[in-house]
């Protein structure tokens, strides 16, 4: 009677692990939205740019760590430049204009990434083994016959520690406290002399770093090519479920989307003509959650007054 359970668990665990990768993309979103109210659509392309820059260098025989550091510096620089040239002149504009600016930025970076490098498909090898783990061999007394991808676990660990690090950073450092102050009340933050621009630049730079890590993990998993920009589309339902302003929300949202995507693919797809429903399924899941809680699970409720 329980023979479906191991398979169900296998699917669920696979889904949860890939959900952590979604969370990683989503956190960049949340950081920028929280601190400046910008819904950064260029996230996916920044991911692509980072991964493409890294890959193009390693393919030209640059050492892994050298390439990594150069890309890191470049992404931080990109974040700061974006803050200077795009976000600062647009401060105090409507949220829609800011969103559209990032859509423009997205287009710009897309052209730039593929113009400077190329639009071919590259592979990344981070040296993480891709062999599956048979849980029953490792832990026979659990009695579960489940296969888990080793890569998924490694990726989830990396993503998870990034998330943990960021959370600690924002909870306990001065910069983190300033960031939370800024996201609470721009005007008050300026009045006590918190330099908004510097905080925004830091946030964009941190997002650049997150993009690099996420880009490499995603790149190893699905290859580095234009399709990597689709990561942003995976991240969207995640943050919308979690609430645009919440880091824990991004994590929970990622797990929910990851699990529901895999489960839907396995158990529901056959009722829908059997072909890839995962694209719209994630969004439908998000929609169901939002109908219950219109600002996501952990999102701040907006208080509206006439």
């Amino acid at each position: 009677m329980w023979e479906w359970l191991p398979f169900f668990l296998e699917v669920l665990v696979g889904g949860l692990l890939s959900g952590v990768m979604y969370s990683l993309v989503a956190i960049g979103f949340v950081l920028i939205y929280k601190s400046s109210g910008v819904f950064n659509f260029a996230q996916g392309t920044m991911l692509l740019l980072a991964a493409l820059t890294f890959v193009s260098m390693t393919e030209r025989q640059v050492n892994f760590w050298v390439a990594f550091s150069i890309t890191l510096v470049l992404m931080v620089a990109l974040g700061i430049i974006v803050e200077r040239t795009v976000m600062r002149p647009l401060a105090n504009q409507s949220l829609l204009s800011l969103f559209m600016a990032t859509v423009g930025l997205n287009y710009f970076l897309e052209g730039l990434a593929q113009g400077v490098w190329d639009s071919a498909v590259h592979g990344v090898d981070l040296g993480i083994s891709n062999d599956p783990i048979f849980l029953i061999e490792k832990f026979p007394n659990l009695g579960l016959d489940i296969i888990i991808s080793q890569f998924d676990i490694a990726a989830a660990v990396i993503a998870g520690s990034m998330i943990l690090g960021l959370t600690l950073f924002f909870q306990y450092t001065r910069t983190g406290l300033s960031l939370r102050a800024v996201s609470d009340d721009h005007m008050a933050a300026m009045a006590v002399g918190i330099p908004l621009n510097r905080i925004w630049a830091i946030v964009w730079a941190v997002t650049g770093v997150i993009c690099l890590i996420a880009g490499l993990l995603w790149g190893d998993r699905v290859s580095v090519s234009f399709t990597l920009t689709a990561a942003v589309l995976k991240g969207l339902p995640v943050i919308l479920i979690g609430g645009l302003t919440s880091i824990p929300g991004a994590i929970v949202g990622g797990l929910i989307i990851g699990a529901s995507e895999k489960l839907g693919e396995i158990y529901l797809a056959e009722y829908f003509g059997g072909q890839g429903i995962e694209h719209w399924w994630a969004y439908t899941t998000a929609l169901i959650f939002l109908m219950i809680r219109p600002t996501g699970i952990f999102g701040e409720k907006e208080i509206e007054r006439v």
Partner: protein, 269 residues
Amino acid sequence: MSTDTPILSIKNIEVLYSRVISALHGVSIEVQKGEVVSLLGANGAGKTTTCKAVSRLLEAERGEVSKGSIEYNGVDIKTMSPYDMVKAGVVQVLEGRHIFGHLTVEENLLTGSFIRNADSASVKRDLEYVYSRFNRIKDRRKNLGGLCSGGEQQMVAMGRAMMAKPNLILLDEPSMGLAPQLIEEIFEIVKTLNEEDGVSFLVSEQNANIALKYAKIGYIIENGRVVLKGSAKELSESDSVKEMYMGGGGDEVSFSDVKYYHRRRPCMV
């Protein structure tokens, strides 16, 4: 005293919002070191705009000082950012408190100290000092700012400003929405900070009674223009001020007589 450079001197400034809406036209104010100066006026007279012009927060609201100059300790502040102003020792306590609702009281206070890059020991000392001045908020240090009462929030906002060790505090409408007793308490603290810590204050107020009680000099601002200036004593005895801002004073006066000072040119300092 008057021979020294004033700590703040606003010279005939004009402020435009979005390059078209003129909010101030001809405001001149001087604050000497160690003085409490109060700026009186009704809603929309331009008190907040004057404060924001000094703290440079105006630019965040698409406003700009288009004419005149503002000098802090004799230095023109035209090119300075809000950050520079706080660094130089001018902190504004915003109207309506504006404390960080999702941060605790203590975290709120800490944000005020970031500007000085102080080490944690001295920050701790300052915290204790602020708690000693505002002992009401000491018990609430772990509470979320948003859950504090209005009076406590006002104290948090002022304490947060004090954490930056300012020379001049621009206190915008501290009495807003507070009970008379609390207003008295807040102004007593202002007095202590002024007398014992040597902080100068520019206090904008609608409540002329209390503001003139604690201030040395008063300015009356109306429709974006300074219309009257004088020592607190002079002003509180002036009939027109009594009539307009203190809720009656003596006999019924005809409306056209009261408004006599409207027709005078704005006073230049």
